[in-house]
């Protein structure tokens, strides 16, 4: 990590906000599609699959970019417990960004459903048909989705807390456009 770095690299910020929109859309599409039998079920399902694979690709790019550019240091005055929470929650976010698309793809494969994304691009199955695997991956995809959404809410709450209450530059580090200049460290 570069000690000088105050904000994330523009490419990192772009990836973060594009993925933020995609991931939020996925939660609403996912929970909406499984609760309807209306005609919108089909386009929602198709979009959910396409967007899920897009997120899988984006998170791989994002991790590569992160390894290349690093991240700004957290404020020195951040309490150790909050610091630990910040680090663990980010590992969990990355893990879920990778795991959820793979679980979705695997559960579709285990059910022997053709996985067709972007209106005609067919992906190969990643596991063989299996009732046991289908149930396992389905349960994981379903329950982790709620954990993921809760974690994203926590992430948003923490970002807003940094931006609105602590004013410590953490929010500004990932803000899509420069907000007000980062205040000099007070002490």
């Amino acid at each position: 990590m570069t000690g000088e770095m105050q904000r994330f690299h523009p490419l990192q910020r772009l990836l973060h906000w594009v993925m933020a929109v995609c991931v939020l859309a996925m939660f609403f599409i996912g929970v909406g599609m499984v609760s309807t039998v209306m005609p919108k079920f089909l386009p929602l399902m198709a979009t959910h699959k396409s967007l899920g694979i897009a997120i899988l690709v984006l998170v791989i790019v994002r991790i590569a970019v992160r390894l290349r550019y690093g991240a700004p240091a957290l404020p020195a005055d951040l309490p150790p417990v909050i610091r630990l929470g910040a680090e663990l929650s980010h590992y969990a976010l990355y893990a879920l960004l990778i795991a959820m698309p793979l679980l979705g793809w695997a559960m579709q494969s285990a059910a022997d459903y053709p996985v067709v994304i972007f209106d005609g691009f067919r992906l190969p199955p990643i596991v063989p048909q299996s009732d046991t695997l289908h149930t396992l991956f389905w349960d994981a995809h379903y329950y982790l989705a709620f954990c993921f959404f809760a974690l994203v809410l926590l992430h948003i709450a923490a970002a807003l807390f940094h931006g609105l209450v602590r004013h410590d530059g953490v929010f500004e580090a990932m803000a899509p456009v420069p907000t007000h200049p980062r205040t000099a460290p007070a002490e």
Partner: protein
């Protein structure tokens, strides 16, 4: 924090709480947690269950069935209306399932009015076409909501439940008269099976045509009274098809029916006039029968929206509803597979 011109933390914290609470509420709303009236796949599937509960490990509807394998031999005529590879002259492998429209996998065959077939055709490029067809010439009701209402009404003990349902859904009486008067047969091989739902086929020139399709049996149709069928034993359909196929392959013509402008494409309870253009696109041949418990059709969800490029859904609302409900049925039954052993002794899995 040296800055003194900031909003109070209380106001900021309240704003954060509103944003997070609003996000969670929007999610709950989208999930239907505030909309008990919403027809969910779970409600639809649960509505099929008989009073004693569903047969665990089995399909929630069309629960009794037997697997087959065979081929679809395309004659090339279908390429005129669809670019789907499956219509190009050639022979493609088929996995399918003959079945009965019942929630009871052990039902007496003679008691079930609706017979069906699930078909999966795979082309060498890996594309898959799944279709689940039934033998009535039209569907009992016009909309998925009406179908749900039918399931509820038919299980409702109130004396006027069905009467009220038919008053609200008059198209049902058309189906009831078919069910009461159409001849029965003693064989799956003597039945025609119809998609009932409409789909859109698009050819290489990009021209879309709304179609339905059906398969027409080559076997001679011999009407048998329901009373005579009752004398044949509870599983006569499975015994018959196994015996026939062992003796000789059984065949059906696959016929695509093209809608005229103005035909009721969104309502499967309405037949199209008999003079609509029909294209004979090939022959389905059934060459082998296997029990479902460890047969090749068991794991297949015959979701009618699994379509190759060149066929898409239309304005008919049923395929989406069927896809959602079939998927839920699949999720449930695969999670229960221990209740439906793959071998008679249940040793495997």
């Amino acid at each position: 924090m040296s800055d003194t011109h900031r909003p109070t933390p209380v106001g900021s914290l309240a704003l954060i709480a509103v944003i997070i609470g609003g996000g969670a509420a929007a999610f709950a709303y989208t999930a239907g947690w505030f909309s008990p009236q919403r027809l969910t796949p779970m409600k639809m599937v649960a509505a099929f269950a008989p009073p004693g509960g569903p047969a665990l490990g089995h399909r929630r509807n069309h629960a009794k069935g037997i697997c087959f394998t065979g081929t679809f031999e395309a004659n090339g005529a279908g390429t005129e209306i669809s670019k789907a590879v499956v219509f190009e002259k050639g022979e493609y492998p088929v996995v399918g399932r003959f079945n009965l429209g019942t929630q009871d996998p052990n039902v007496d065959d003679a008691t079930v009015r609706v017979r069906g077939i699930g078909v999966q055709i795979t082309t060498p490029d890996g594309q898959v076409w799944r279709s689940a067809m039934i033998d009535p010439p039209f569907f009992p009701v016009s909309t998925p909501q009406a179908f749900y209402d039918l399931l509820k009404a038919s299980k409702d003990k109130a004396a006027d439940a069905m009467k009220n349902f038919i008053a609200a859904n008059p198209e049902f009486s058309h189906f009831a008269s078919w069910a009461g008067s159409a001849p029965w047969t003693a064989s799956y091989a003597e039945e025609p099976y119809n998609s009932l739902n409409s789909f859109v086929m698009t050819n290489k020139a990009g021209e879309p045509k709304t179609v339905r399709w059906g398969i027409v049996p080559e076997a001679q149709v011999i009407p048998v009274s329901q009373d005579d069928l009752k004398k044949l034993g509870p599983n006569f359909l499975e015994a018959d098809i196994a015996k026939r196929v062992a003796a000789a392959p059984q065949r059906w013509k696959l016929v695509v029916i093209v809608a005229n402008p103005g035909d009721p494409t969104a309502d499967p309870s309405k037949e199209w006039p008999a003079d609509r253009r029909k294209i004979d696109v090939g022959t389905l041949t059934v060459t082998k029968i296997e029990p479902e418990a460890d047969g090749p059709c068991r794991e297949i969800n015959f979701d009618p929206t699994v379509l190759p490029a060149g066929i898409t859904t239309s304005d008919d609302p049923f395929p989406a509803a069927r896809s959602a409900a079939y998927m839920k049925s699949y999720d449930l039954r695969t999670a229960e597979s221990k209740y439906y052993p793959r071998t008679p002794t249940g040793e495997k899995q």
